[in-house]
């Protein structure tokens, strides 16, 4: 032991210790524990939700999502940074919006990326879809809006006939064949690669297809599994598994009405957690808080054997102890 530590521990009985042996035993014990738990309880692996699944099992939801992206009424079209210059989901703390300051760094235009772009690819192999797309893009904005509005109203009265979506007659123009072609692309399992494709041959960025799924299909499934924010979902996971229990405090704030009902809920929660984290980091230097353990007295339980030993040897003259609550 170095002279510095000898000085620090003066008056305290030292005992033999084998750190390396302790470490090896700890690894062995934890290994047995995790291997046993893995064999007994396994781990969650719910299959991912695919656009193909949505297009096949709930084509009306698929068409509503696609129409929302085409006419710009979905949440991402007006989201704001980092996707575009909208303001629908921009949050701020007082006058400061870090979201705006960070800027548009992942440009996304759902109509172009998820609908018109993939249909442009389909046009190469499906002349009917190509003609509809050409008619749509050649029309003026008001005509496009009229077709979209008529198609949206008809979707509310849609009925299924086998795998076909049957709509009442209406003035949809090219929107119906366009979105039918997109639905067929989705059913074939080709919409994700069409929207996530990049200039490189390998694509590892799923931003666009995930944003398409989050429009309605993902939240509906997540709600069934108690995974949404108001259900403490941020710390839960599918199945009967512990989830990210360590996020309990972060998740807690979303259950507080004052936070949950605010249009700036996320930034308020992040700011609150930021302040609490900062306090935890600099706790040793905060007067009062750094004396809390001494006042709580749990240390008496932790060191009870040491205090008992000290009491027994109280008759033996000893060097005075280090002052209580010494400065860090």
């Amino acid at each position: 032991m170095s002279p510095r530590q000898q000085t620090y521990y003066r008056g305290i009985r030292m005992a033999p210790y084998d750190l390396v042996r302790e470490g090896l035993i700890a690894i062995l014990v934890v290994l047995v524990l995790v291997c046993g738990l893995a064999a007994w309880l396994s781990s969650p692996d719910e299959p991912p939700l695919t656009v193909q699944h949505v297009a096949t099992s709930d084509p009306v939801t698929f068409l509503q999502t696609a129409l929302g992206e085409l006419n710009g009424t979905d949440s991402i079209s007006t989201y704001g940074p980092p996707y575009n210059s909208g303001s629908g989901s921009v949050q701020s703390l007082g006058p400061i919006s870090l979201q705006r300051l960070a800027g548009v760094r992942i440009p996304i235009d759902p109509a172009r990326d998820d609908v018109l772009g993939p249909l442009g690819m389909v046009a190469a192999i499906d002349p009917r879809a190509g003609t509809a797309l050409a008619t749509f893009t050649a029309a003026g904005a008001s005509q496009q809006a009229a077709w979209e509005t008529a198609f949206g109203a008809a979707l509310g009265k849609a009925r299924m006939q086998g795998q076909a979506v049957v709509l009442p007659n209406g003035a949809y123009g090219p929107v119906a064949p366009m979105l039918t072609a997109l639905l067929n692309l989705g059913r074939a399992g080709l919409l994700e690669p069409a929207v996530d494709h990049s200039d490189r041959i390998y694509s590892t960025d799923n931003t666009r297809s995930l944003l398409f799924l989050q429009a309605s299909a993902l939240p509906a499934l997540a709600s069934q599994d108690h995974l949404v924010g108001t259900q403490w979902g941020m710390m839960n996971e599918t199945g009967n598994y512990p989830g990210q229990a360590w996020l309990w405090l972060y998740t807690f704030w979303y259950q507080v009405p004052a936070y949950a009902s605010s249009p700036n809920a996320d930034v308020l929660v992040m700011a609150t957690m930021g302040v609490l984290t900062l306090i935890l980091l600099v706790l040793p230097w905060i007067p009062g808080l750094n004396q809390l353990p001494r006042l709580l007295g749990v240390y008496r339980l932790i060191w009870r054997d040491y205090y008992r030993e000290q009491a027994l040897s109280a008759t033996v003259p000893q060097r005075p102890e280090t002052p209580a609550g010494g400065q860090p």
């Binding site: 893995a38 992942i106 931003t207 995930l210 989050q214 360590w246 002052p323």
Partner: protein, 202 residues
């Protein structure tokens, strides 16, 4: 000024080998609460080993192989064990006032280990390529976008998250845990609060 010799002199002054690998410690270190720290490190060690196995086989292997699923399950329970022991270690260190007598930096680095560990687990959940990964990504994006982080750290981008999860953050956690251990060993564990303080409270 010779940087090499000044570094050597500084290390000789600050780091004594007999403190790094002591064969005797204060008798109170035999209390069970001192095991939580070493259990956390053991969990991290096994977490990294199982993670290396999963990384070598590729991100889709464990979805299609029984052995892969078991290795993933070991990795999963290592994460749970890591946080379980780390939180116990954090609480018991708090109740001991473990930052006393010049150990403030040890506490702060320990808290940083916890925070970076949170990020590592979060990116791991996102990298799973299953329903949990999809949902956690779309749910988490809004909070990160709201504070401007999402523009640079895109949780919907699997490639970026996987890189963070298997390289950037594990290296950061390992370095921080190494620094934390070095600080613990060079300063030694904190002394108990004085016994007379205990009597005075009664």
């Amino acid at each position: 000024m010779n940087l090499t010799s000044s570094l050597r002199n500084r290390l000789e002054r600050k780091v004594a080998l007999e403190d790094l690998l002591p064969d005797e410690l204060p008798s109170y270190v035999h209390a069970y609460v001192y095991l939580f720290g070493i259990a956390t490190i053991a969990s991290l060690f096994l977490l990294i080993l199982s993670g290396i196995w999963l990384a070598m086989a590729g991100p889709t292997w464990w979805h299609v192989s029984n052995l892969g699923h078991y290795v993933n399950s070991v990795h999963f329970w290592c994460v749970q064990a890591f946080f379980f022991f780390m939180v116990l270690h954090l609480w018991t260190s708090f109740f001991q006032g473990a930052w006393r007598d010049g150990r403030g930096a040890t506490w702060t680095v320990g808290v940083l280990c916890f925070l970076v560990g949170l990020g590592t687990a979060f990116t791991g959940y996102i990298s799973q390529q299953n329903f949990d990964a999809q949902w956690i990504a779309v749910q988490g994006k809004d909070a990160l976008n709201a504070i401007g982080v999402g523009a640079f750290f895109n949780v919907l981008n699997f490639g970026q998250m996987y890189g963070f999860h298997i390289v950037v953050l594990p290296v950061a956690v390992s370095a921080l845990v190494g620094l934390h251990l070095l600080l613990v060993r060079t300063h030694g564990v904190v002394r108990p609060y004085p016994a007379n303080d205990r009597e005075g409270d009664q």
